[in-house]
C-alpha cells in the first residue's frame, strides 16, 4: 500500500512545484497592480527559451556545466530586467483605473504579440536542454526512479513561498508594497512613489514567471503553444487560491497537482480535465477562491 502511495505523493509534489512556479507571478502582480496579466504565460515560456539558449551556449563552449544552474537564474533576471519595466511602463500603466475588459484585452494583445515574437526569435522547433537535470542524477524512491532535480524543485518552490512572505512582511520594500495594496491613494498621499512600486512589483512578477519557465526547461521541452497552456493553468491556480494570495497559490498548486496525478494514476483519460474540474469545484463553493475575499461592488 505504502509503496503505491509514495510515488503518487511525490509526483503530486513535483508537479505542484512546477505548477506553483507558473502561477505565483500572476497572483503577485494581481495583488499589487490589480491587473490580470494575460501575457503571463508568454513570459514563462520566454524565460524557458532564454534559459535553454544560455544553457546550450554553456554546453557548446564546454564551460563548467554547473554554470547552467547559474544560467537558469540569470535568464530569469535577464527577462525580468528587460520585459518588466518595458511592459509595465509601456502598456500596463495605461490600463490602471480602466475597466477589467481593457486590462484583459491589452494584455491579450500583448500575449498575441509575444507568442509570435518567440516564434520569430526562437523558431518553431522544440527546445530542450537537460544538463542541470543530468548533473544531479537520480534516486530510487518507493521503487520508482526519480530525478533529483524534481526533488530540488519541490524545495525551491517552498523557498519561494517563504522568501516572498519574508520579503513582504519584513523588508522595507515589502511594507511599501503592502501599503500600496491596502490603499493606493493613501500610500501616494503620504509620499510613496507608487510608480516605482508598480515597476518593481511587475518586474518581480515577470521574474517569477521567467524563473518558472527556466526551472521547467531541464525536465520538459519548450515549443510554441506552451505560453497559452501555461496561462490557463496559472489562471486555474490563481483562481483556486484566491487572486492575489501567495499562500493560496501554493495550496492551489498542491490541489491541482494532486488532481492531475490522481487522474493519470487512476483515470488516465481524464488527466487534462482534472485541473479545470478542480478549479470549477472550488469556485462553485468559494467563488473568490480558497483564500480570496469578496471585493465590494461598485456604487
Amino acid at each position: 500500500m505504502l509503496t503505491a502511495i509514495i510515488p503518487l505523493l511525490l509526483d503530486s509534489l513535483a508537479s505542484a512545484a512546477l505548477i506553483f512556479f507558473a502561477a505565483v507571478g500572476l497572483t503577485l502582480v494581481f495583488s499589487v497592480l490589480r491587473v490580470l496579466n494575460v501575457a503571463h504565460g508568454s513570459l514563462y515560456s520566454i524565460g524557458g527559451y532564454v534559459a535553454a539558449s544560455i544553457c546550450l551556449f554553456v554546453a557548446s563552449r564546454q564551460l563548467n556545466s554547473y554554470l547552467s544552474f547559474a544560467a537558469l537564474l540569470f535568464s530569469a533576471v535577464f527577462v525580468a530586467a528587460i520585459f518588466g519595466p518595458l511592459i509595465e511602463r509601456g502598456l500596463v500603466r495605461w490600463t490602471y483605473g480602466k475597466s477589467e475588459a481593457v486590462q484583459i484585452l491589452i494584455t491579450f494583445g500583448l500575449f498575441l504579440i509575444l507568442e509570435d515574437l518567440q516564434r520569430l526569435i526562437f523558431g518553431v522547433q522544440s527546445f530542450y536542454e537537460d544538463a542541470p537535470m543530468r548533473l544531479l542524477g537520480t534516486s530510487s524512491i518507493g521503487g520508482v526512479v526519480y530525478l533529483n532535480y524534481q526533488i530540488v524543485l519541490i524545495g525551491m518552490a517552498l523557498l519561494v513561498v517563504i522568501g516572498l512572505r519574508l520579503l513582504i512582511n519584513h523588508t522595507r520594500l515589502g511594507r511599501l508594497i503592502t501599503a500600496v495594496v491596502t490603499d493606493r491613494e493613501m500610500a501616494q498621499s503620504i509620499g510613496i512613489d507608487t510608480n516605482r512600486i508598480f515597476i518593481l512589483a511587475f518586474s518581480l512578477g515577470v521574474f517569477l514567471a521567467a524563473l518558472g519557465g527556466a526551472l521547467a526547461t531541464p525536465t520538459s521541452g519548450i515549443a510554441p503553444g506552451l505560453g497559452a497552456d501555461t496561462m490557463v493553468l496559472a489562471f486555474a491556480v490563481a483562481a483556486i487560491g484566491g487572486l492575489g494570495q501567495i499562500e493560496g497559490a501554493a495550496v492551489a498548486s498542491l490541489i491541482v497537482g494532486l488532481a492531475r496525478v490522481l487522474a493519470i494514476y487512476l483515470a488516465p483519460s481524464l488527466d487534462a480535465v482534472a485541473p479545470y474540474a478542480a478549479m470549477l469545484a472550488v469556485l462553485l463553493i468559494r467563488p473568490y477562491g480558497l483564500f480570496g475575499s469578496v471585493t465590494a461592488r461598485r456604487i
Partner: protein
C-alpha cells in the same frame, strides 16, 4: 443614409462570392464569428467580459453533429435545435455566473469553458477527442444538395440571418431590457433600488449572448465541415472579445464589421507573412488605445458608447 450604407454593404457581400468563389467560405466564417462576437458585445454592454464564449460556439457546433447522428438532417431544424442547445448551456452556466462581476466573471467563464474544452478533447469515444467530428451536409427543406450548392445556401442564409438577427438584437438593445444592461455597467445598485431585478436582466442577456455564439458556432461547423475542441479553447474566446472590441461594441454592425475585417485581412496576410498574431495583437492594442469605439466608430455617429 446609414440604412443605405448598410444595404450597400450587405449587397456587396452578397455579390463578392460570385466574383471570387473562394471568398464565400471566408465570408461565411466571418459572419459566423460575427454572431459570436455580437454575443460577447451584448455582455460587454453590461461591463461584463467573458473569456469563455467560445464554449457556446463549440457547444452548438457539437450539438449539430450529435443531432445529425440522432437522425435530424434538416438544416433549419439543426440550426434551431443547436442554437437552443447553446442557449440551454448558456442558461445553466449563466444562472450562477451572472452573480459575479469584473475579473471574477471573466475567470469563471474561462474556468467553465476550459472544463468544456478539456472534456471535448479527452472524451475520445464520445466527441472524437482532438480530431473532432465531421459535420454532415444537411438537407434543405427535404432537398439533398451537393456540397458546393449547400455551401452557397449556407452563405446566403447566414447573410440573411445576419440582417434579421442583427435587427432583432438592435431592437433588444434599444428595449428597456437592453438599456438596463448599460445601467448595470454604470450603476448597478441604483438599478436595484429602482426595482429592476439585475440578476434577471443579466441572465437574459447571458442566454441571448450564448444563443448568438451558438448560432455562429453552428454556421461555422457547417462551413468548415468539422468541429474540434479547439473551437472552445480560451484563445478562441479571447479572439471573440477581440473581434467585438475591434469592430466596436457601440452597435450591432460593429461585431460583423470586426469579423469581416479580421477574416479578410487574415486571408490576405497569410500569403505574405505567418506572423498573424503579431499583426492582430498590435492592431488590438492600437484600436483600444486610440480608437475606443472600434472600426465601427468610424461609421457611427458619435453616440456609441465605449468600454
Amino acid at each position: 443614409m446609414r440604412t443605405l450604407l448598410a444595404a450597400a454593404a450587405v449587397l456587396t457581400l452578397a455579390v463578392l462570392p460570385i466574383a471570387a468563389p473562394w471568398l464565400q467560405f471566408v465570408l461565411t466564417l466571418a459572419i459566423a464569428k460575427g454572431f459570436a462576437a455580437l454575443g460577447v458585445a451584448v455582455l460587454l454592454r453590461a461591463g461584463l467580459i467573458s473569456i469563455g464564449h467560445a464554449m457556446f460556439f463549440a457547444a452548438s457546433a457539437y450539438a449539430v453533429t450529435f443531432l445529425a447522428r440522432a437522425g435530424i438532417h434538416d438544416l433549419g431544424l439543426l440550426l434551431i435545435f443547436s442554437v437552443l442547445a447553446g442557449a440551454l448551456v448558456g442558461a445553466v452556466a449563466g444562472s450562477f455566473l451572472v452573480r459575479y462581476r469584473a475579473i471574477f466573471f471573466a475567470m469563471l467563464n474561462l474556468a467553465v469553458s476550459m472544463v468544456f474544452y478539456a472534456l471535448c478533447a479527452k472524451l475520445y469515444g464520445v466527441t472524437g477527442g482532438t480530431d473532432g467530428m465531421a459535420v454532415p451536409v444537411p438537407t434543405v427543406f427535404g432537398l439533398v444538395l451537393s456540397e458546393p450548392a449547400f455551401k452557397s445556401v449556407l452563405f446566403y442564409l447566414s447573410l440573411g440571418l445576419m440582417v434579421l438577427v442583427g435587427v432583432s438584437v438592435q431592437r433588444y438593445l434599444n428595449s428597456p431590457l437592453g438599456h438596463a444592461l448599460a445601467a448595470v455597467h454604470t450603476n448597478e445598485i441604483r438599478l436595484e433600488y429602482l426595482g429592476v431585478p439585475v440578476w434577471a436582466v443579466l441572465l437574459i442577456a447571458y442566454v441571448v449572448s450564448a444563443a448568438l455564439a451558438g448560432l455562429g458556432g453552428a454556421i461555422a461547423g457547417f462551413a468548415i465541415g468539422r468541429v474540434v475542441p479547439d473551437f472552445a479553447f480560451w484563445t478562441a474566446s479571447g479572439h471573440l472579445v477581440l473581434i467585438a472590441v475591434l469592430g466596436g461594441i457601440g452597435g450591432v454592425p460593429g461585431a460583423f464589421i470586426g469579423a469581416l475585417f479580421l477574416e479578410l485581412l487574415h486571408s490576405a496576410a497569410v500569403t505574405v507573412t505567418d506572423s498573424w498574431n503579431l499583426i492582430v495583437g498590435m492592431t488590438l492594442i492600437i484600436v483600444i488605445m486610440f480608437m475606443p469605439q472600434g472600426v465601427y466608430g468610424l461609421f457611427a455617429r458619435k453616440e456609441a458608447s465605449n468600454l
